[in-house]
Subunit: 150 residues, 2 copies
DNA sequence: GGTGTTACGTTGGTGACTCCAACGTTGGCG
DNA sequence: CGCCAACGTTGGAGTCACCAACGTAACACC
């Protein structure tokens, strides 16, 4: 018959780490599905959005701002550049660096993906009231702030 | 100099999906480091804890309860069985099934890993008060409950 | 009582995300 | 000049999650 509730790992279901993991996993799945329509992934959006909002930056800087490893930035920027969403140019002031800039098409795509993100977000947070959403973001922000200032 | 704050993806830093992802990522990293001392991973703990708390079960049942794919359960149970933490026996009542049971050593390991989990959890939730922790788990539980009964 | 459907365990593979080690190049500093 | 740090790049690893397919076994239905 294969009944039984799908999710309920005994005593785990009350632990914050489990809940965080499951929630994030669910969010990531929704987001991944949403981004798939753009034929891009999470890394691409983070980079594109950062470029569109904060302007051109070096790859190392992008990695730092997006929380992506330098080596992973290379591949993602390769993808984006291959689609003309981004331009890679050597920095005349520092020949070690590449200056990455979003093209107009890149900025457009960033906007479209941003809209997708908001749709997913609304779906994800549907069961929570506005106050609760604010509560959640506040708690998580505190959590992260504490652990990044280690 | 390579200065600049490590984490702050522009407008992303206020989105729930980003915060969830980062928090969970951080939690997973802490947990992974903690479990590494046992030379086991998250899958192993989920299975072992479920077995220790709920008693023997078939692999498919375990997968369902732990949110792990059947095919991934196979490998994890192989690992656990190889260490004598778990026993795999054919179910006489249904020859399709294997009945998985935790050995005494397995139950011990589950307890030890549980202790590790609690340590990590305390570390993770350090910046939050007891009330806030309860708030967080409540919000996340609501979130998950809503999306699993979809 | 045969037939089709379903569940089971297993194998093998894919993809996203995160991280690490190493190399050659370039810039900055003492 | 010599040393060290940062840069981009390559290559690899590991965890988690998911999917497709197979053969076997149980079950439901006619």
């Amino acid at each position: 018959m294969d009944n039984a509730a799908p999710q309920s790992p005994a005593g785990l279901s009350t632990t914050a780490t489990w809940l965080l993991n499951q929630s994030a996993s669910h969010a990531a799945r929704l987001l991944s599905e949403g981004f798939a329509a753009h034929d891009l992934r999470g890394y691409h959006y983070r980079l594109l959005a950062t470029l569109a909002e904060d302007g051109p930056a070096s790859q190392a800087d992008l990695g730092r701002r997006c929380g992506i490893d330098r080596s992973d930035v290379v591949a993602a920027i390769n993808d984006l550049a291959g689609r003309g969403l981004v331009v890679r140019a050597p920095d005349p002031a520092d020949r070690r660096r590449n200056v990455i800039s979003a093209t107009d098409a890149g900025a457009d795509e960033a906007r479209r993906m941003g809209a997708t993100l908001e749709r997913v977000q609304a779906d994800l947070l549907a069961p929570l009231s506005a106050t609760e959403r604010e509560q959640l973001t506040r708690l998580l922000t505190r959590l992260l702030r504490h652990h990044s200032g280690h």
